[in-house]
Subunit: 177 residues, 3 copies
């Protein structure tokens, strides 16, 4: 599978809906790369539903993975981890945006900083994110704002990525690369 | 068109959004197969909106189809109908999940049983389902649970299916097969 | 890029989610065509959020574009503008449907009239629309009705279009053409 993903360092974006199999697909991509698999988890455990999902993902990945929990400063975590010898999975961008919104961070600034870090990455990075813009316009302004931030970030990362996949029903569709 | 769908028996999953033309596309797939077209309707008529949709679908299919209404025990209906000489259309999985949730059935158990029946099917089966995971996270827990069940079932059926299509604006995109 | 879009006159449908980059992609398609680019805006300015989006789009397009604001009578605007020497962009169909619903127009009649005008167009027309049917079924009946109208119109226009694209993360996926 390695030939299909280009030579590292490289950037791969994996988009998909809820329960689309996007994380499992992204994990397989990273596991097929050379180097130590590093999992950067942006999720902040807020309730049991969340805790169960995180544990389920961790069990699936297995013991060879190193896990870094970084709900907000993804730029710093990537600066540290995206280096030769590592293959990094970021799961996921939409949770990162959620955390930044709750902290009232300037998301445009942070998104630019993230793209800068990615463009200088020294190791392969696979980023997972939820596509959330294909339903009815949400009633509340915060959900619309979230949708706008997510869509813009996806466009920015897709523009600099070497590969972009859209995953549905566990099946990847290559959009770029 | 038959060549494109492999030799029966086989399993085809047709995913799409609301009003995407997925049912009409699936009906054409089944009509192009050999055998008697059998329509397994999982919809339970709850209101006039629903009744109108069902009648509209029935008129479109025409008189050569046999219709089986089975809102809950889809496994039994498929065990009976997925046999040589029949070409079966199940419309749709998301309504089946809805009905099971309303009956407080154990959906993981039922989904496994359905996949078992499909893996032993003796006739071609085309299954239609709504992709519902590409919007904003729903506020209420039951909608989130529904979305999770639907997404997992799509992954499981896609894994065993011979073909998977994603339909938008009436146009099929082949994801597998 | 022109070869890829067939010889004008022709009809191109560009579908995508919120903040998917669909408008920017459609603008590039029109800018690559021969003729004066004409932008038919169906959006009615209702609030500052809307005003900002419209101004942002206008700045991006540049001075060579002619803008026509037509929130409701899209059929008339297209009859006038879809002629040799023009390359027309309609942005977007979902706002047009919204405006017609608020005016209690008969949308099936209007959609048929629009398709008739498109089938007789004498210049290339690119139409942008939001895919809104891939989330959870909305609670309120008006949102469900909107979703049905949009989905049906997308199917009708896709059937007569020369090309259909689905845009995600700024990346076009060709569905037809």
């Amino acid at each position: 599978m390695r030939e299909a993903h280009g030579s590292p360092p490289g950037i791969t974006l994996v988009l998909g809906g809820a329960r689309s199999g996007k994380s499992a697909f992204a994990e397989r991509l990273v596991a097929d790369l050379d180097g130590t698999p590093v999992y950067i988890a942006t999720g902040r455990v807020r309730d049991d539903e969340m805790r169960l999902r995180i544990e389920h993902h961790r069990d699936r990945r297995g013991a060879e993975w190193r896990t870094v929990e970084e709900p907000e400063n993804l730029e710093r975590a990537l600066t540290r981890e995206a280096r030769p010898g590592n293959a990094v999975l970021v799961d996921c961008l939409t949770l990162w945006i959620t955390n930044l919104m709750l902290s009232q961070a300037d998301i445009n600034v942070r998104a630019s900083a993230l793209c800068q870090v990615l463009s200088e990455a020294k190791g392969h990075v696979v980023l997972v994110s939820n596509e959330v813009g294909l339903g009815i316009v949400p009633d509340n302004a915060m959900a619309r704002e979230f949708r706008d931030h997510a869509g813009r970030l996806h466009q920015d990362i897709a523009a600099l990525a070497d590969e972009v996949f859209f995953v549905a029903a566990g099946l990847p569709l290559k959009m770029k690369g």
